[in-house]
């Protein structure tokens, strides 16, 4: 008999810390790529217990659950306590598409006084507090890969990226932190 396969997070054990910057992997999370026309938005918001905003770059948080606006009919829903997002959407009869991408993505938490500067080494968006305030979320790029960036605090960001890109993203953060 063999033991069941163990799931290993791609960034397990990685940590980068330097003056004014900390980069660490986020805890595993349940994630949903949610597409829905506006007619289904209210019912989905109710089922998920979180407001699916219609405002560009908006995010909503309720407990361990968050919904990030990605496009006019698209949200990334994250639950860090293993909530069954698929089951919640399954109760909604209005037309929508929900895809479980929990294991497609992984996330890094970037924090510290220099967090925005280090991010700017690879992200072309204006990350000043006026243009990208706390709560702002957006799909964008970091170096050569696509990420979803979410400002969770004045000096704290969550960076969602595809699992297979995470090693590149982590190393680019390390290099940027030494230079920025």
């Amino acid at each position: 008999m063999v033991d069941a396969a163990a799931r290993i997070s791609p960034l397990d054990g990685r940590l980068f810390q330097d003056e004014g910057i900390l980069v660490e992997p986020a805890v595993p999370a349940v994630r949903l790529a949610l597409r829905a026309p506006s007619a289904a938005r209210a019912a989905l918001s109710k089922a998920l217990g979180i407001d699916l905003s219609q405002r560009p770059k908006a995010s909503a948080v309720h407990g361990a659950r968050a919904a990030l606006w990605l496009g006019p009919d698209e949200w990334l829903v994250i639950d860090e306590e293993g909530g069954d997002l698929m089951a919640a959407c399954g109760t909604v009869t209005a037309f929508h598409s929900a895809v479980d991408v929990s294991h497609r993505n992984t996330a890094l938490l970037v924090s510290g006084r220099r967090a925005a500067d280090v991010l700017s080494a690879g992200c072309p968006q204006d990350l000043s507090r006026g243009a990208f305030p706390v709560g702002a979320a957006s799909r964008t790029v970091f170096g050569k890969v696509e990420i979803v960036l979410w400002r969770t605090g004045e000096e704290a960001f969550r960076v969602e990226c595809w699992r297979s890109f995470s090693d590149y993203v982590f190393m680019l953060f390390e290099a940027a932190a030494r230079d920025a």
Binding site: P56, L70, G71, E74, P124, Q125, R139, T140, V141
Partner: protein
């Protein structure tokens, strides 16, 4: 860096997030099979490619991922106007020449 205004995100965003997607306002024939080879060639391959103002499809690939349209000057690379997919060609007034 060139900034492009996304009509869905409602703000200027860096060009790295965008991808060009060909000429805009090309109607797909309703009955493709009935087209002559010449007409199909005209629809499928022939583009206006002017020096000056072009109407193009763009996609905010690494942003909201939506397709939209833009009027751009190919000489100056200046975006004169961007607008949502499905909207008519905008009147550019003096800018369009």
């Amino acid at each position: 860096m060139l900034l492009i205004h996304c009509p869905y995100c409602q703000e200027d965003r860096p060009e790295l997030e965008f991808r060009h997607a060909g000429e805009a306002h090309i109607a797909r024939p309703a009955d493709m099979a009935a087209l002559s080879d010449e007409d199909f060639e005209r629809f499928f391959f022939i583009r206006s490619n002017p020096k000056g103002v072009v109407f193009e499809r763009w996609r905010h690939m690494h942003g909201c991922a939506r397709f939209f349209n833009a009027a751009r000057d190919t000489v100056s690379d200046r975006f004169l106007k961007t607008y949502k997919a499905g909207e008519p060609k905008p009147d550019l007034g003096g800018e369009g020449r």
